[in-house]
């Protein structure tokens, strides 16, 4: 349940952008959520509703989550594969010399504001 903390960080970042660009109301936020980011989008929505009501800038804004698939790279055979399906072991060659390429982050892609 660290989603509330994540939401506070998102709102703070947007408040900084809004101050720079003289924005007064944010209607929509598009968030890229990595498939293995340990963030649960449904919880994020609940926290979002609650936190946005406390910010004049954010009040009523919609949160849109775009899920970024997790991809793992295999150092042994140089191929990539779906992390969630195969975890640590490469399905192409069986090696465990693998690391996560993308899909563990959370990033604000864009906002709609006036």
């Amino acid at each position: 349940m660290h989603e509330l903390g994540i939401v506070f960080h998102i709102i703070k970042t947007i408040e900084d952008v809004a101050a720079e660009q003289n924005l007064t109301r944010v209607s929509k936020v598009v968030l890229e959520v990595g498939e293995v980011s340990a963030v649960i989008p449904e919880y994020l929505q609940d926290c979002w509703q609650w936190a946005c009501r406390r910010s004049p800038l954010m009040n009523g804004s919609v949160l849109q989550n775009e899920i970024i698939p997790a991809v793992t790279y295999c150092e042994s055979c140089g191929k990539t594969y779906e992390t969630v399906k195969h975890a640590k072991v490469c399905p192409h060659c069986g090696s465990e010399q693998t690391y996560l390429l993308e899909g563990n982050g959370v990033q604000i892609r864009e906002i709609e504001a006036e």
Binding site: H2, G5, K88, Q107, R109, E110, I111, E112, A113, E114
Partner: protein
Amino acid sequence: MEFKTTEIKERVLADNNEAAARTRERMRQSGTLLVNLMGSPGAGKTSVLLKLIERLGTQYRIGVMEADVDSDVDARTIAATGTRVIQIHTGGLCHMDADMVSRALASFGVEDLDLIFLENIGNLVCPAEFEIGADVRMMILSVPEGDDKPLKYPLMFSVSDVMLVNKIDTAPIFDFDFDAAVVRARSLNAQIVCVPVSAKSGRGFDEVVQFLRMRLDERRQMHENN
């Protein structure tokens, strides 16, 4: 009403990481070592702390920051040893973020301390997500939790420098395989230092104390050279 789209492309924890970098710099300047102590509720964070204070407290000036959702039970336990302690309430949040730590450090004062422990909220998930600017990330896995925890909570084991396996005296009762836990932790983080300990009997603490002494001496030397 016209809405325009602004591209942001910023990682959500970017501002957290900036605050963590500031804390790291502040620690360097004051010659203080900051240890982020993490683990599940009941893993033995406070008991390990008491043992470390007992072993290091005569030689180093130690401060403890106790983070809890509520209550001051742990802070009272630590304060009874005469150690300087501050209680932080996160107000429902499941972790400390870098800004909260930075503000707590400001009111706590760091210049006259050699070593500060942050006892994080009992949780194997969220504290791992938030870098706070610690020099040492020490996590405790206790035997009753099981040797499969690195598989289930990989991030905590990936970001920690040290894994203490506490309550090791109960390993036979819980069928806990220390070697298996180490292999699992090292497959996520090849550098992680793994030490079996018992906060009750004191077993394993020579090694933990030696590790911390080394880091404290490094920090002190770096400070004196500046």
